[in-house]
Every structure is written in C-alpha cells, then in structure tokens.
Symmetry: C2
Subunit: 474 residues, 2 copies
C-alpha cells in the first residue's frame, strides 16, 4: 500500500525560510539575552508531545508583552520569516515544529493573570498562564475555570487548538468559554477581538475564528475567559460495565435525560490496567465510566440517584463513590496520568493518539469496530474517551525504531478517521489539525470548504509567515 | 450638532447595481413564476421591522432547494449583482433593505425539518423553518430548541444575526447552538461547514464565522442545531423590586450563586404598563423580574427557594408563581408582546430599539444612567432586558413624521452605546449591525479589527455581492 497521506510532511521537505543575519541582529538588539540561537534552546522549542522528530526554529525569542510580540512579528513580516507561538509544548499534533525554520515566540513569561472580574465571572490572562496556575490564582474568588485537557497547557495554546477535555460535556470547550482576545496580527498590529459582554452580534466573530486557528492567523497574547462558581457540592463515581456498548448506552441515556453531568469518561480495560499499575490502584479491569457531578448538595444527590438507576439498567455494577476532595483528586489524577501510565506498559515506546469525535448515537459502533480492528493488529493500545461528547482517543503504543509499526498505526488511524467521518463525526475533537491531519481535514470538510479556510488565511496572512505548514500544506 | 454617523447610509445613497435584462431573463427561465419583479412583491422584500424606509430589490426569487439558491448566486456572481437573503422579515437593523438593488432570495419555501436525530439531540432544518414551527414539529421527541428572540424568526435569519433572547442565560445563543451549516458561497458553490459532532478542532471555525455574518459572506440554506431535553419541571415567577438597581443586583447574585436559571427578564414600569393595557393583566407597575426555572421537580423547587431568598435580600416582594403551562404561556406571551404593546401606547409611532449588552456588574449603572437620560428627553420609551446576560433594549417610541424626534432618539442611542462601550460592553447583543450600527462597530472594535473583518469579506466575496452595504459601508 501507499504511505498514508498524513505523513506527507515528513516525506516532502518544505523549503526553509531562515531569518537573515540582519533580522537576527535586530532581534538581538531589541531582546538581548531574551533572544537565543543556542542549539539546545532551539531544539527544545522545535518539538512537542507528538511522535514527530524535532524541527527546531532558528531563533527563540522570550516575549514579555504584547509589544514584544508585535516587534518580533513586524520583523518577521519585513523579512517574510515564519513565526511559531510556543506555550508549554504540550501539543499532540506537531503544531510547534518549525518546518520551515524561523522564529519561535516563547510566551512562557507572559504568565500574569491580568484582571479578575469576579462579579462578571470573567478573567483576563496573558497567553502563557497555564490552566492550573489560573485556577490556583483565582481560587479565593470562589470561581474556577473548567476546561481541562489533561496536560497543564497554557491558556494561549488551549485557545489556539480549541481545547476541551473532561469537563466539556457540561461547561463546553474553549469555543464556548473565550469571550475576547488580544492578538498580534501577521502585520505586527496589536488588535482586540470581542468584549467582556457575555454575548454580542457585532460583526464577524473574529474571536471564534482565532480560537482553533493553531497560530496560523496571528499570535494570541491575551485571553478573556468565562469562569464558573465553584459548585457547592461535587462527587465522583466509578462504575464498571459488562461491555463498552453498555457504558456508552448509559452515557447516551444520561445525556438524553438531561442530567447535567460534569464529567463522563470512559476507560477501557487496557487503560485501567496501566493506571492500576502506575498509581497502585485496584480498579476493576473492565470497561469503566468515571463520572463527576456538580451542583447543590441536593442536586448532586439527585443526579447520582438518576445515574445509578440508568447504569443499573445497562448492567453497571460496583458503583463506587468518591466525595472527599482527596478521593476525587486521586481518581482524576489517575485518569489524567493514563497517557503516561500507558507509556510505561511498553518501555521505550511512543504513543500516537487518535482524536475522533462522533455523534453519541454512533459512538458505541465506532468504538467497538475500532477496538476490534486495533486488537487484531497486535499493536498495544488503550482507549480513553470523553464519551459524553462522543470524543475518544486510541493510544497506539509503538516502537519508534520500527517504521513498519508506525505505518501500521497510521493506517489504523486512517481507518478510524474514515469510520468517524462516515458516522458524521470529525477527525479531531480537541487536538487540532497541526501537521498530522491536513489530509483528514480535506476528507472531512471537502476541498471547497478548505479553500474557504485558505482564502481566509491568505487574506489575514498574505506572506504565510504565521505557523506555516500547519492546517494546510504550505 | 452633526447628524449621527449611524444615519450615514440614509444621507449617502449607494450606487445601484440592478440586474441587467439578460440576468432577469435567465432567472425567469430557471424559476418561472417563482421569480417576481412585481412592485408589491419587491416592496415587501425591501423592508423589515426597523424604522428605515423600504429599499426594494429589483427581483425576488422564491427558492426551494440549495441548488435553486446556488443558481441565483451563480448568476449574481456572473453579473456582479447584489443578493439579499430573506427569511420572515423580522430584522430590526435594516438587514433586508436592498440598498443597491439586486435580488432578494426568499427562503420561506425552504421550510422543511430535514432530519431529527433525537438520540444525539440534533436537528437539521432548512433556513426558512421558523423557531415555533421547529418546536411544534419536534415536540413528540421530548426535545426542544430554546433560542427565543421574541419574533417567530426563521432559523436562517437567527443564525445570520447570531440571535439569542430570553433563554440565552441558560442555553446560550445561536453561537453556541449551531453545529453545522450548508452555505451557498459568493461563487455559487454549495459547501458544508462543521459536522454533527458536538465539538471539533478541525481547522477554522467557518460555522462560527457564518453565524452572525448577516448574509454578507454567503447564503445560509441549512442549519444543524443542538436540542435539549424538555425539562421535567418548569416554573415561572414574577417579582417586583423597589428599584431597577435592586432587580439587577438580584440578578447578579443569582448568576454568581450558580443558579441555573433558564430566563431572567427585566421589565421597567413603562413596559409593564403597556403590557397590562394590551393583555388585560394587572401586574404591578414597578421594576419587575420575570423568571423561569427548568429542571427536575426537586431542582426547580430548590432554585425557586434560593432565588426567593436572594430577591428578599434586595427588597423583592410579591413573588408570584406560574407553574401550569397555561399560566407560564400567558406571562411569556405578555413579555413577547411588550414591543407591540408599547407601540399601542403612542398610536402611529415607530419604535427604535437599542440593543446594548454589558458585563453584568456594570448593568445597573448603565440602565440607571440611560433611563434618567431618556426620561429627561421627554421621548416616550420602555425598557426590557435579558438581564442575566447584561443585555437590554430601550424602545424609543417616535413620531415618524418628526425628523427632530428621530434625530434626538438616535442621539440618545449614541450616548447609550458610548456608555456601554465605556463599560466594556457591545453595541449589539443580538440584533446585529445591519445598516444602523456600522459606525458603532468601528467605535467598538477599532479600525484595525474592522479591517480584519473587511479582509475576510473581501476574500470570501471579492465582488461584494453578498448583502452589500451591511456591517461595513459598501
């Protein structure tokens, strides 16, 4: 068979567009020691959590303000050199690789919570603030920011990839929770999109256009977010099921009954086995839902009763509750460490994670066929899913020194994406397109719709300097 | 003082771009009797609920399919003639006026509910389906579509203006509830944006770019929406307050406590007076919150108790409940008729409605200063507000034959918008920019951000044929 089209980037090197000496000189003059061409620094900024080999930028600039970012982009515009925004490096799809060289803009020092407006349930942060830092800094207000992609990602990166995670079933994704942005455009202008009003019909929704644009339309430097009151009560539970189908059918019934469940996560036996081993837990190694309920004490109790009844109807058993913060944290830490726990199941392996999302009525079918297919391939794997949203991840644990295994995993991924699209789903629920899924984007959206996206890109970044080679081939 | 800049359109006529005879001929050939140049038909399609004089198109085509719409737009593209999508004509900002002439595409015959996927809580409809029709047709499923702008608007029009209304505080706006679209582009291509998956990170969010684009980027022909389970219990209540501030402070506390209130509407004494007269009600003519709670029976009772306590803390009195569907319908019908009830308070008047939205912590200040200013002007007015979102409308009841009164109302509106922007709000919460607020959009977003919007427009509609002269001056 042919090589999968999604590996195209690796087989067709793009022309390099390095900064000329005059640009490096200008950056050194403006930024001094905050500008580095050291190989180690560049190497660290040319990789992420994807399985790709590193593609380092030529220079890294550590920015501390909107004006710093604008200064870098103005130079990049003048010399037509790529710029790649960098948060904490937790992308899974190769977003941070400098495939044409250029400048990595490290936003890690833009890590201030600028303004908390507790009465309005809004906060404005610099792009380099991470989600855990944010929640620590606003805890005193009684509010929290729910979006939780697992990694302690930067808010800028989460915005750029339209991230979501475990709480999205109740609180939505970055799409629903970003109110306004400060963006440095491809021309190096500092612009604002949106306001702190909860809703608006004022012109094109540039905020939503930037959310999920993966650094290809501008550099996101400040983000205004919606916050939520910390619930009066929260309770987590695990429940095992005789089959994946029973767990998914339970999920569908929960959603359809309108239970405002805060989290509804599926773990397959492989994921539980890995978590048990790493976290020294004794969870039953059967398909499991890990759930959380938020609300008043009475409402949480009522939700729990309803869900227990629904689960029992589908053969759910061994409902176990975790009501103290410590117990809940222990369970969710285990869930968040599933990825690393799985890596430990095959020493030296790399993990390739899929990210399909389908309408929930098609989820069981999609999961079951996929699991059977992967099982037959012999590649070690695990499955975790934000099943309340129809989103799940297969992690293929591959030997990085075995090209054949990589190819087989990629072929499985293609089959999975084709299945998800057939079921009216998407090739990526929350990770983004990056380098990896450009072919899948065309399969999903069609050439005419991708041409519209390209037209928007061309209009806002005519020199193609904003993270080129991502979303679309350069 | 100078004439308000928002009246610019009326003082500077745009060049007409009528369809040439060959185009009319081609339309007649394709559409027969579904293509009309009759003056009465054109006049009916060149007006809306705004205070503007009509600006009729040259021809109206009644489309019945995506292919019909594509055929019209392909001709419009060839001859560089404007096209204006038309739903039911309930726009408040002049969206439907053919300010350069051209073709009105009437979508009223595209009124089919195409596909209900009850298990996934989604439905796909043609753009001409109205929100009431939709809810009637899906009632048997136990689901409902919550967005409720008052008028029985078309789903296509609601999408194009990013509409919201009374339920948005709980269920969000069209921004949050449109999953996917079919759009006819400016080149006359039929494209799909989005999928039926609840979330996606696949490329630019063209769905959100089209939501609120007011017909200026393409013709929305099909819309896939999120639905919600009909709540087990619903209860409405009215409560009077000694002042607008007390009513707004109650609202802020409700939101901050995390009460999942479904509707939270403010009516000022003028609105109540009008409603009492028209609907033969005896509501107390004092600032009032009209609220609704959705959930399980126990949850609705708990929410009600919490809200009553909060209201009592702010001097709220005369809490009255409406728990039967009939009582609730009566109250909400009264609320929805406030606009028409107010019109009857000054026979022969026209209503100019403002539409600012501010962060809720600034809402009381914005409302109080605005009410004082309008009171001092002597122009009859009323105020209603979706206060849970910080959105309110002042209706100025003006004599259409008194240009001075129009100018004074417009000046008041400008002062209000300036105040809302100062308070970090928006010039339009849900009505859109249309013809009326092009200057306000620049005030709000800034020239650089509006230039980005224009660049997107230019990229997707290079001949400026899609509803030209709206959002931006042509």
């Amino acid at each position: 068979m042919n090589a999968p089209h999604t590996l195209e980037w690796q087989s067709h090197a793009l022309p390099r567009r390095p900064p000329p000496p005059a640009m490096i000189e200008a950056l050194r003059e403006r930024f001094g020691a905050s500008c580095s061409t050291a190989a180690a620094v560049c190497a660290q900024h040319g990789r992420d959590e994807s399985a790709y080999d590193a593609a380092p930028p030529d220079v890294v600039v550590f920015c501390e303000s909107n004006e710093d970012v604008a200064a870098v982009v103005q130079l990049a515009d003048r010399y037509a050199v790529p710029v790649i925004p960098f948060g904490v490096g937790s992308s899974l799809e190769g977003h941070l690789l400098a495939v044409q060289g250029g400048v990595s803009i490290d936003l890690g020092r833009m890590n201030k919570v600028l303004r908390l407006n507790a009465e309005d349930l809004t906060v404005t942060v610099q792009a380099g603030v991470t989600r855990m830092q944010l929640n620590n800094e606003i805890r005193h207000s009684g509010l929290f920011f729910p979006i939780d992609p697992g990694a302690d990602a930067s808010i800028g990166g989460m915005t750029a990839t339209r991230a979501s995670g475990t709480n999205a079933v109740r609180y939505g994704t970055m799409r629903e929770n970003v109110l306004a942005l400060t963006v440095v455009t491809a021309a190096g202008e500092i612009v604002r999109t949106g306001t702190r009003a909860r809703k608006s019909s004022a012109g094109y929704d540039l905020t939503r256009l930037m959310v999920g644009s993966e650094g290809t339309l501008g550099v996101i430097t400040e983000v205004t977010l919606r916050l939520y009151p910390q619930p009066e009560a929260a309770s987590a539970a695990v429940c095992n099921f005789p089959s994946i189908k029973a767990a998914v059918d339970t999920t569908i019934a929960i959603i359809q009954m309108g239970v405002p469940i805060a989290r509804c996560e599926l773990l397959d036996p492989n994921a539980i086995r890995a978590v048990n081993r790493r976290e020294k837990l004794t969870l039953r190694e059967e398909p499991m839902l890990l759930m959380e309920f938020h609300g008043t004490t009475a409402s949480v109790a009522e939700q729990a009763t309803m869900v227990q009844e629904i689960a029992a109807d589908h053969g759910g058993q061994a409902f176990e509750w975790a009501s103290t913060p410590e117990e809940r944290t222990r369970l969710w830490t285990a869930r968040h460490h599933a990825y690393f726990a799985a890596l430990q199941m095959r020493p030296g392996c790399r993990c390739i994670s899929t990210d399909t999302c389908v309408p929930i009525s098609r989820l069981a079918e999609c999961l079951i066929d996929t699991a059977a297919e992967v099982e037959a391939s012999g590649i070690p794997y695990f499955i975790v899913g934000h099943v309340g949203d129809g989103n799940f991840h297969v992690g293929y644990l591959i030997d990085p020194n075995d090209p054949d295994e990589s190819l087989r995993a990629e072929t499985l991924n293609q089959q999975l994406v084709a299945r998800a699209l057939e079921l009216e789903g998407t090739c990526t629920g929350e990770h983004g397109i990056g380098l990896h899924k450009m072919g899948f984007l065309i399969d999903e959206a069609g050439l005419a719709t991708v041409a519209m996206m390209r037209a928007v890109k061309q209009a806002l970044d005519p020199k193609n300097i904003m993270n080129p080679g991502k979303i679309f081939s350069a």
